[in-house]
Amino acid sequence: MSLRESLATDQLHRYRRGLFESLSKRWVFVGLTVVPALAVFTFVNLFPMLWALAASFFEVGALQPEWNWVGLENFRIIVNDDRFWSSLSRSIVFAVGSVGLQVVAGTALALLLNRSFSFKRGVRAIALLPYIVPSAVLSFVALWMGNSRYGIINQILVQTGLTQEYLAWYGSLNLAMPSVIVTSSWKFTIFVTIIVLARLQSIPPSIYEAATISGASKLDRFRDITLPNLKGVLFIVVLLRGVWMFNKFDIIYILTNGGPQNRTMIASIYAYRTAFSDFNLGRAAAVSTLLFVLLVGAAIVYFHYFEPSQEVRVE
């Protein structure tokens, strides 16, 4: 290295050091770390939320810019609309049904994957696949597989004699909701699996061995060690998935668009229609405000009654 080059590197080092020093000043550092996230969050989450909260007291059309104050009128119309209440109850059915299915299937899958078997890496990768299949793709594949005239599911079921005739899975009044629940769970079960599996791997194997030696059977161990250790994560998983499934839009929108005869019109679809079919943004905002308040209320109740006592850990 020539003298000139080494001087240049020295210079570079000094600049770098100087830069690091100036970035370390308290307010610069705070600004650097927290402010980007705070700014983005404020702009894309908080503002739209506050806008929606405010707009719920106004009459807001989709095309004209002016807002007319209507007070609680939007809310009055909504709570008197049977379609809102029935869509809300369908949201609850959808959320409870799919979260229930996801938690049971996801935990079972995590337990199955948390053993030693051959091709573990490959098998785990396969199990994780559904989570990255886009909802739109899943919906179209499901529509095709469940097609009432050409669907492979109908073909298999009839050929094996499990059903007598081809069924319209997403088009018949009674089957639509269960079908939608199963379809969306195919994808989101994996979220539960990932989190439960991560937790299972952090349980020290020696406590299972200690239990075994002192006489505990497989069932004892599952009930007394596995389940209590999963309580904390299952609590969070149910909360997160509950909120996400309650607010789910895209899968149902593509699968059934709320049909048949509104049998799958959950609250998010109802709000979407209020905004983009009735062009009544104020009322749509009021719907979202109501849903939000209900969710927050439910979350508070949930925390109050179900939060496991502070987990005590050895580590």
């Binding site: 020290p204 020696s206 406590i207 061995e209 200690a210 239990a211 075994t212 030696i213 002192s214 006489g215 505990a216 059977s217 004892d220 007394d224 060690i225 209590p228 250790n229 309580k231 987990e311 005590v312 850990r313 050895v314």
Partner: protein, 377 residues
């Protein structure tokens, strides 16, 4: 109650390679015996214990508890108790539930199992901790809880997998006493695994020294210390470990053998076991070696590399041509690091090992057989 292990073998396959963990060992552990498996890490001692517990499946061999073959019995049906290196208390249960858990899985009703848990908690002097969680306990309290959990039911034997290795020195002594107290009270066999030979020597009735999946020697602490079967046992038992000096047999006559090492000749009483020109190893315990500054007085001369205090004694390390000799039996006061010294020991204290196989040929002459002069040295 006894534990018998017959030609136990355990191999692991990792990909294409097969790793031998335990190579066909036999053990017999008598009723209420405190039996220790000791050896360097990876010697197969923990694997052996886990096979006895049923946590590992032997590749071949047999395990008998009270003359009953338990090789095909599920680990939870063997009626044993075990302590683990990481203690393995259930983090989500408080102390009383931890202690009472073995009773719970035996279907004993709540009142009785809490009653019995309280009794053993008293015995372990932790009655005030019953409502606490493992995370809130100190190291010693966790150990006491873990011991309580093993004695709350009536196991056929105790298995302990390095339960003291994570404790500090003071706590080690305290818990060691507790374990011995429990062992004496229970009158059941205890199989104890450790890598620490001093722990093994001080606690056990009998010890098996393991290396590379084989048992190198079995015996009481005294037997292993005084008359080790081979160089491995001799080097592993005792701290600081035995000095080994390579030598050659130069003469053999009249029940005497002459061994030469570093140009020095030793005459030992020995009638058979070696031929002339055989390679041998001279073994001498540091406790039997003295160092003097008079370079003419002793056996070998060398530079005094290091002198350090070990408890109430001083340990000297002397450089000799092929290595070093450690001496713990120092008498002289003014020894200086770096000066030339000579090493002194009594021929009667020598162990002699076969240079190729490492098997013992001769052990020190017992004191009753030694002459007056030797004792005065």
């Amino acid at each position: 109650m006894t534990i018998v292990v017959n030609s136990l073998r355990k191999t692991y396959t990792a990909g294409a390679t097969e790793h031998l963990a335990v190579d066909g060992i036999d053990l017999e552990i008598g009723p209420d015996e405190f039996f220790t498996l000791v050896g360097p890490s990876g010697c197969g001692k923990s694997t052996t214990l886990r096979c006895i517990a049923g946590l590992e499946t032997p590749t071949s061999g047999q395990i008998l508890v009270d003359d009953e073959d338990v090789t095909d019995t599920a680990p939870n049906k063997r009626g044993l108790a075990m302590m683990f290196q990481d203690i393995a208390l259930y983090p989500h249960m408080n102390v009383i539930d931890n202690i009472a858990y073995p009773l719970k899985v035996r279907g004993i009703d709540k009142e009785e199992r809490y009653e019995r848990a309280r009794e053993v908690a008293d015995l372990m002097q932790i009655p005030e901790l019953l409502k606490k969680y493992p995370g809130e306990l100190s190291g010693g309290q966790r150990q006491r809880t873990a011991i309580a959990r093993t004695i709350v039911y009536d196991p056929r034997a105790f298995l302990m997998d390095e339960p003291l290795s994570d404790l500090d020195a003071q706590l080690k002594v305290e818990i060691r006493k507790e374990i011995q107290r429990v062992h004496e009270r229970a009158e059941k066999p205890t199989v104890y695994v450790t890598h620490d030979q001093s722990e093994a020597l001080s606690m056990s009735d009998r010890i098996a020294v393991m290396n590379d999946g084989n048992i190198m020697g079995v015996g009481t602490p005294d037997e292993l210390y005084e008359e080790p079967e081979n160089t491995f046992v001799a080097g592993f038992i005792g701290n600081p470990s035995m000095n080994f000096i390579p030598g050659t047999v130069t003469d053999r006559s009249n029940g005497l053998v002459t061994v030469e090492a570093y140009g020095e000749e030793f005459e030992l009483e020995l009638t058979d076991g070696v031929q002339e020109d055989d390679a041998v190893e001279i073994g001498i315990r540091p406790e039997r070696v003295n160092v003097v500054s008079d370079t003419e007085a002793g056996r070998f001369t060398g530079r005094l590399e290091l002198i350090e205090r070990v408890g109430d004694r001083r340990l000297a390390t002397v450089d000799v041509p092929d290595g070093e000799i450690r001496a713990l039996n120092l008498r002289e006061r003014g020894l200086q690091q770096g000066e030339d010294v000579s090493v002194v020991f009594d021929t009667n204290d020598i162990h002699l090992f076969d240079g190729k196989t490492g098997d013992a040929i001769k052990h020190p002459v017992t004191y009753s057989k030694r002459g007056e002069a030797a004792q005065l040295d």
